[in-house]
Symmetry: C2
Subunit: 114 residues, 2 copies
């Protein structure tokens, strides 16, 4: 990788850290961690989410019961205001990252579209 | 997305376009397209590759025969010097893009590792 490319990537990393979306996400994440109830609920949710992702990635079947349990957990989690705000901010941040990725993929896409 | 973030992403896009890896890839791709034999072979290879990817993504089974056909095509394709060089350059470029992605994913990863 050329030195220049690395420099610009690091600049982008810094810009992400300084963006409103990121600093907002960071403080919402801290708010969840500072509330014992929210923290436990969020950890339970994340564990469940990772278990299901793991199953999906390894091609294991996800049972009807597991789908229901996941939906129930999402419903509970969304009633916790700290977590609801965090999840909203996570969605915005991943949209931003998605847009950044689209921009840096453009040169390659153009090449093969020619 | 903050204006600043967009600006830096566009700067990174320009840096990619100007990088040796990209300009090299671009001229190797042109070399393949300018050689009728290489061009046809490469198109055949890409079509096969996309068919298999499509099957994988939609969860369809890939037969033993298809795997063999793909391996044969790769072997033939690698004997074409134009294509072999292009494929090497493609691998380098996707490593670079992968590294760039890792850099811009760092802020998010750090957040959840805390
Ligand atoms: Ca609480
Ligand atoms: Ca030829």
């Amino acid at each position: 990788m050329s030195v220049n490319l690395y420099d610009v990537a690091n600049e982008l990393e810094r810009a992400i850290r300084q963006s409103d979306d990121y600093t907002n996400l960071k403080s919402l994440y801290a708010a969840v961690n500072n509330d014992e109830g929210s923290k436990q609920l969020f950890e339970r949710f994340r564990t469940l989410q990772m278990e299901l992702q793991q199953k999906q990635m390894t091609g294991q079947e996800i049972t009807e019961e597991e789908v229901q349990r996941a939906q129930q957990t999402v419903a509970i989690v969304q009633q916790d205001e700290n977590i609801a705000k965090l999840m909203e901010a996570e969605q915005r941040m991943s949209m931003v990252i998605g847009e950044l990725n689209k921009v840096i993929m453009k040169p390659l896409e153009e090449l093969y579209a020619e």
